[in-house]
């Protein structure tokens, strides 16, 4: 809602209005030329975390913050990097791209050397040009292919793109399960649009045309028309590209309309919010493409989950894990490069080979470090690896 982000400028603003005349006469330089150089040599290492801390997407932001903070605390406890502590400051983007651009300027003006987040691709895309100009590397939790299309050498993803999620899903549905009769429902928001394009592309690569391709709005409440249309096509599986709550509502209404086909989709369908909204009985058999199916997939994930539980008293999930991986990669790069900034830090991130919770990261020129997801199915209300 607001176009502004954190911190106080009002006071300097008012005093400035009064003192500006004197200042101007004394300085005689063009305004703005006395920017402080970023990267203070001795103080803490300043890293910004930008995510929605208010508004509808704040749950996502809260998870991200917990994951990233866990990683930073671990490093600080171990003595920081080169004896310097890491300072993680949180900025609220409210899930709004314009607020994001304000935050980006703020990060630049306050000398942060790197940024973690955001969870919203649209916000990250909006911020990318400013961060690129200021040479501040950003490890985002977004997954839209649009992030790659930005083509910024300072933008990295902490997980796979929608293309990977949906290519894996389409491969599983079409090739492993042999399903050809597929319907799609996506919303017109940034996430849904990315899912729509990626899944459609993955299907057409396998010569499958969806029997229905329905678009809904992001705050639609009644899906009778869309779902009845799909019911008449009698699909074997329905692909969903929408956020947690809307996905849940669609599944709930679909079941009440007598649609028995399973639903398939990406990360939102692995969350508890989705399960609660739809009702546990309704999501049975759902197929989910996710790089982090559960806290039990590996030794590292069990350790992470235990630490997470100890720190926050709740179970870890995908978004926390992604943010944790992203923070680990950034901190490793800082260590490897002796706390470089700008271009050198970006190069260092690109050079990191990290064995993370989501898999093995190895960045290419597009900023994508991981390109595999696993397929899980919901059995007895729990997401488990698919046994194909």
């Amino acid at each position: 809602m607001s176009l502004f982000a954190r911190r106080r400028v009002a006071v300097p603003l008012l005093t400035a209005a009064l003192a500006s005349a004197a200042l101007a006469l004394a300085a005689c330089s063009p305004p703005g030329s006395n920017n402080t150089p970023s990267g203070n040599e001795n103080g803490p290492i300043k890293i910004a975390l930008v995510d929605a801390q208010s508004g509808q997407l704040s749950s996502l932001g809260a998870w991200e913050l917990k994951g990233a903070r866990l990683a930073v605390n671990e490093w600080n406890k171990a003595g920081g990097i080169n004896g310097r502590q890491i300072q993680l400051d949180v900025f609220d983007d409210q899930g709004d791209p314009t607020t994001g651009t304000n935050v980006a300027r703020k990060i630049v003006s306050e000398g942060y050397i790197a940024m973690l987040g955001t969870a919203e691709s649209a916000v990250t895309i909006a911020m990318a040009p400013i961060l690129r100009d200021a040479k501040i590397p950003n490890i985002t939790s977004g997954q839209s292919p649009g992030l790659v299309a930005v083509g910024s050498p300072f933008l990295f993803l902490n997980g796979p793109t929608s293309t990977t999620y949906d290519a894996t899903l389409a491969k599983y549905l079409v090739e492993t399960k042999g399903l050809k009769n597929i319907a799609m429902i996506t919303n017109n928001g940034a996430y849904g649009k990315g899912e729509h394009d990626a899944f459609l592309k993955a299907l057409s690569a396998r010569n499958v045309t969806p029997v229905a391709d329905q678009v809904v709005t992001a705050d639609q409440k009644d899906f009778s028309a869309v779902l009845t249309g799909i019911r008449q096509k009698n699909p074997e599986v329905i692909f969903l590209g929408a956020e947690e709550v809307e996905s849940g509502l669609i599944v709930k209404q679909a079941r009440s309309l007598g649609i028995t086909a399973p639903f398939a989709g990406g990360a939102p369908m692995g969350t508890p919010v989705f399960a609660d909204t739809a009702g546990l009985a309704n999501i049975e058999g759902s197929i989910v493409s996710s790089p982090y199916l559960s806290n039990d997939v590996s030794e590292a994930s069990r350790k992470f989950a235990a630490a997470y539980k100890a720190a926050y008293g709740e179970d870890a999930e995908l978004h926390g894990a992604k943010a944790y991986d992203g923070a680990q990669i950034l901190l490793t790069a800082l260590k490897n490069s002796n706390i470089a900034t700008g271009q050198a830090l970006a190069d260092a991130i690109r050079a990191v080979k990290h064995e993370g919770l989501l898999g093995n990261f190895s960045y290419d020129n597009t900023g994508v470090g991981i390109s595999a997801t696993a397929i899980g199915e919901i059995e007895n209300g729990k997401l488990v690896a698919a046994t194909s």
């Binding site: 678009v215 709005t217 639609q220 409440k221 009644d222 009778s224 028309a225 009845t228 709550v245 007598g258």
Partner: protein, 289 residues
């Protein structure tokens, strides 16, 4: 054909909710001339109260609803007190004043219940009815039934009771009502309590259909208001018809125009209102803004 009927039914069940919201708008407006833009947020408060009682205290749904309606009615009294100075102000002030109040309510809901919201399981576990391939959710039937009963009760109250007749008199002529000894302040308070109770009813009923969160009031309020205007602002039967029409229109727009449904809905709404500015049951006599 099946799609058409199913779409219509889907639209009707949300339309019943919009109708209840619209009724609250119209009742408060006709009695005290206040356009209360915080009404959508009162719906949200009602939804939270009902779902909280239902989920955390394990009260039966019906009982939780009654408690929520009562509690929201009290909230209504508080709002009425706070907004009383606005009653005879011009429309701009009413608009922004009540919007400001709604913003406060939303923020308070975030402070009390958190920003994320929660889902409410359906209180009626009966599977949907299947009539020649058209599915009707039992819960939706219940919602329609309750909405109809609430309307009937309100109409009876307004037409058959002394207090209701007094409120009708206030709606028709403020000054004349005062002159014959009707306590206008009390009528206003009662209108506001009933409006808040209707909002709580709408909120409580919509919880299991959707998802309860602090920002849910926005779109329910706007569509409910559009319903009230479409029916003829201030008219109770108009609010019912208008709310249902908005629900059905919304449902069909979503079916035919997909992502563009909101654009289509509001353009169609504008055109209808342009052709008939007083709405379906518009009464010029009640127009006091």
């Amino acid at each position: 054909m099946q799609v058409t009927i199913q779409t219509f039914i889907g639209g009707m069940s949300l339309g019943a909710i919009y109708a209840l919201v619209a009724m609250g708008f119209s009742l408060v407006y006709r009695t005290m001339g206040l356009v209360n833009f915080a009404h959508g947020n009162v719906v949200m408060v009602g939804a939270y109260l009902a779902s909280t009682f239902f989920l955390s205290t394990r009260l039966p749904f019906a009982l939780a609803m009654v408690v929520a309606i009562g509690a929201t009615g009290v909230v209504g009294v508080v709002i009425e007190r706070a907004l009383r100075p606005l009653e005879n102000k011009d429309f701009d002030l009413m608009l922004i004043g009540t919007i400001g109040f709604g913003i406060v309510l939303e923020a308070l809901a975030i402070i009390i219940w958190g920003a994320t919201g929660h889902a409410v399981p359906s209180p009626v576990p009966v599977p949907p009815l299947d009539i020649l391939g058209v599915r009707v959710r039992t819960y939706d039937l219940m919602v329609l039934g309750i909405a109809a009963a609430a309307t009937a009760a309100l109409m009876l109250f307004l037409q058959r009771t002394k207090r209701g007749a007094a409120m009708q008199a206030v709606a028709m002529d403020h000054e004349a009502a005062t002159a014959v000894g009707i306590h206008v302040g009390r009528s206003n308070a009662i209108a506001f309590v009933i409006g808040a109770a209707l909002a709580a009813l709408a909120g409580g009923l919509v919880g299991p259909m959707l998802y309860v969160n602090p920002s849910m009031g926005g779109s329910l309020g706007i569509k409910g208001f559009a319903g009230a205007v479409l029916g003829g602002f201030g008219s109770i039967p108009g609010a019912i018809i208008g709310g249902l029409v908005i629900g059905v229109l919304d449902s069909f727009a979503a079916g035919h125009f997909q992502g563009y449904s909101e654009l289509v809905l509001f353009v169609v709404f504008t055109v209808i209102i342009m052709i008939r500015p007083t709405g379906i049951f518009g009464e010029k006599t009640v127009n006091r803004a």
